[in-house]
């Protein structure tokens, strides 16, 4: 019976995913093995050339570059977001939902609106520069907008609440006595954090990191607006294949590549976070 239960909890979601994700996506991704027609469209003729093309160093470079930006954004977001989630979780319990609410509220405006607000802040004639001028600074300020930094700021900003939410979940009910036990054994707050709280909340951190990473690597609005279109994320590349170049087979091949790599990373992450958080298979069943 304990065997049947998880299945029927999962069935609705799995059915949903099968109908509205697995089947449609397989149909599209299968195109990776066919040829692009001269004017776009698909010629149903088996080929591995699209797959082969993915391994061109150019795409590897783009992949690494966007993974670098996404990784940096995810790392920064995780640091800030975890700290904020930790702070929220250490506030009186009845305040916590309100704090969470206000942490996500800005993100119920609109992505473009927020991104433009950053443009207003960061541009050469923008608020930050004006402010610096107003307080008497008249040196040259480095170009902030249309740089990688701006892209990272934009990504961190927009995905920060997701990290806060992901980290808050496991932090919300940590047993305080475990924290106390560590203090009692001579650990400072910081050491306790590093050796006890942090490892126990690795699942939340990993989840938050994954959120920012996958959302960033597929983002094209922020690189376009805050990066001045000078940085190409892998998501952008895929988008271009499907829409601009009308090259679905290659878009599908790139997508498969991206999905495969991310799956690999995620499996690693699950594995690592389970090790770190002390989760283990509770028993070795004999079946």
């Amino acid at each position: 019976m304990t065997d049947r239960k998880p299945v029927y909890l999962m069935t609705p979601a799995l059915a949903w995913l099968t109908a509205f994700m697995v089947v449609p996506c397989l149909l599209i991704l299968a195109l990776a093995f066919f040829r692009r027609g001269i004017y776009g469209g698909i010629v149903y003729e088996f080929t591995l050339s699209n797959i082969a093309l993915v391994f061109d160093p150019l795409y590897a470079r783009i992949f690494l570059k966007s993974a670098g930006i996404a990784g940096l954004a995810a790392t920064i977001a995780v640091v800030i977001g975890y700290a904020a989630a930790y702070a929220i979780a250490s506030m009186p319990r009845k305040r916590q939902p309100i704090l969470l609410f206000f942490a996500v509220l800005p993100f119920w405006s609109n992505y473009l609106v927020r991104t433009y607000a950053w443009i207003v802040l960061l541009n050469r004639e923008g608020l930050i520069v004006s402010l610096a001028r107003a307080v008497g600074f008249d040196g040259d300020l480095p170009q902030m907008l249309y740089t990688e930094t701006a892209v990272v700021i934009g990504l961190v900003y927009n995905y920060l609440p997701f990290v806060i939410l992901a980290c808050y979940a496991p932090l919300s009910r940590l047993n305080p006595e475990i924290h106390e036990a560590s203090r009692d054994l001579g650990a400072s707050e910081w050491t306790t954090f590093r050796r006890v709280t942090l490892p126990m909340t690795v699942p939340g951190i990993a989840t938050g990191f994954v959120f920012v990473f996958v959302l960033s690597i597929g983002n094209f609005v922020t690189p376009a607006l805050l990066g001045g279109g000078q940085f190409q994320m892998i998501g952008n590349l895929i988008y271009d294949q499907f829409l601009t170049a009308n090259d679905w087979p290659f878009g599908a091949a790139l997508s498969m590549f991206l999905i495969a790599i991310m799956m690999g990373l995620l499996t690693l992450q699950t594995f690592a976070s389970e090790k770190a958080s002390g989760q283990q298979r509770a028993e070795v069943s004999d079946d």
Binding site: Y39, Y146, G228, G229, Q230, F231, Q232, L243, T244, N246
Partner: protein, 324 residues
């Protein structure tokens, strides 16, 4: 069912649909697309269903035709085609308006702040290899065909060039140009000019006019190496279930008054002789590029669907964007 029309935002007179309804009795709905690519993707994935008339740039109209999604036009039902300039009925992408009707046309050139830029820029090199004062104050269009177009024109190649060596030349040129660029931008470049963030931008003529409207110091110039001739078209979809009304709509747009009215609202040239002749001269004064004649424009090559070479184009653009 309502007639469903997809167009860019602000690319028709705001009341155009109401007056169409009033004039023809057909209910119509306007939905918006941000880019050619969006609406193309949507049409291809849905096999051309759901829309009756779409506004797309000419290479995309060609794709719709190639994929068999565009309606073969019955000229009988479009009497107002007669209002078009003769040149506009023989455009390279669709001679004889078999499946598309030109809505607007124009050139791609340089839009700049005459009060900030020294002298009058007159070459693509002024954009690609700007003077010291202009370093970091230029933008280029981000869409692949127009981005490459600037390079092709600077090099004196065809804007539809497919020779790999020439493509490589252009790639190198554009990668170098990237150094001095503020950003790639094909949506808000005029605003950057207005705010002064940018001083010289790669622009479509009509869109430069939006800048001129806000700041009279902004000017438009076609570099001496030339421009492309871009054409935005109306396509009736084969899958349309309201063909009657769709024809009526296209015909309605081609009406001299209506098309003029559109031009005055959106500040783009329309290929409608009757409309252009009736255009308010004051407008041409304020926005000189509205005064360009079909004759002058026909000197320029149109962007065409390049078939398999599209793969190479995409790759080159990726190389440019990935360069640092």
């Amino acid at each position: 069912d309502d007639l469903v029309i997809s167009n860019w935002d602000g690319y028709m007179a705001p009341e155009a649909l109401d007056s169409f309804t009033e004039a023809t009795g057909n209910d119509a709905e306007l939905v918006l697309h941000g880019t050619n690519e969006e609406i193309m993707g949507k049409l291809i994935a849905s096999n051309g269903r759901g829309y009756d008339v779409v506004f797309v740039s000419s290479p995309f109209a060609e794709v719709l035709q190639n994929m068999g999604l565009a309606e073969q036009l019955d000229h009988e039902r479009l009497p107002n085609l007669a209002n078009l300039y003769p040149e506009a009925t023989e455009l390279a992408h669709d001679p004889g308006n078999q499946y598309s009707v030109p809505y607007t046309w124009g050139t791609t050139g340089l839009c700049y702040r005459s009060d900030l830029v020294d002298g009058q820029p007159d070459s693509w090199q002024d954009l690609l290899n700007p003077s010291d004062e202009l370093q970091g104050k230029t933008t280029m269009l981000a869409t692949d065909r127009w981005l490459l177009g600037a390079g092709f024109l600077a090099k004196g190649y065809s804007v539809n060039e497919t020779d790999p060596d020439k493509l490589a030349d252009v790639r190198n040129l554009l990668i170098e140009a990237k150094e001095s660029l503020l950003a790639y931008d094909d949506t808000t470049f005029y605003a950057k000019l207005v705010s002064g963030e940018a001083e010289l931008v790669h622009a479509w003529d009509g869109w430069c006019n939006y800048g001129i409207a806000e700041n009279a110091d902004i000017e438009y110039v076609i570099p001496r190496e030339g421009s492309d001739l871009w054409v935005d078209t109306m396509v009736i979809l084969k899958g349309s279930e309201n063909k009657e009304a769709a024809y009526e709509f296209v015909n309605y747009v081609l009406d001299a008054d209506n098309h003029r009215w559109a031009s005055e609202n959106i500040l783009y040239k329309v290929p409608n002789q009757a409309a252009m002749e009736a255009l308010d001269p004051a407008l041409i004064e304020q926005f000189p590029n509205l005064g360009m004649t079909p004759d002058e424009m026909m000197a320029f090559e149109q962007l065409r669907n390049v078939g398999d070479a599209q793969r190479a184009y995409s790759r080159v653009v990726s190389e440019i964007k990935a360069a640092n």
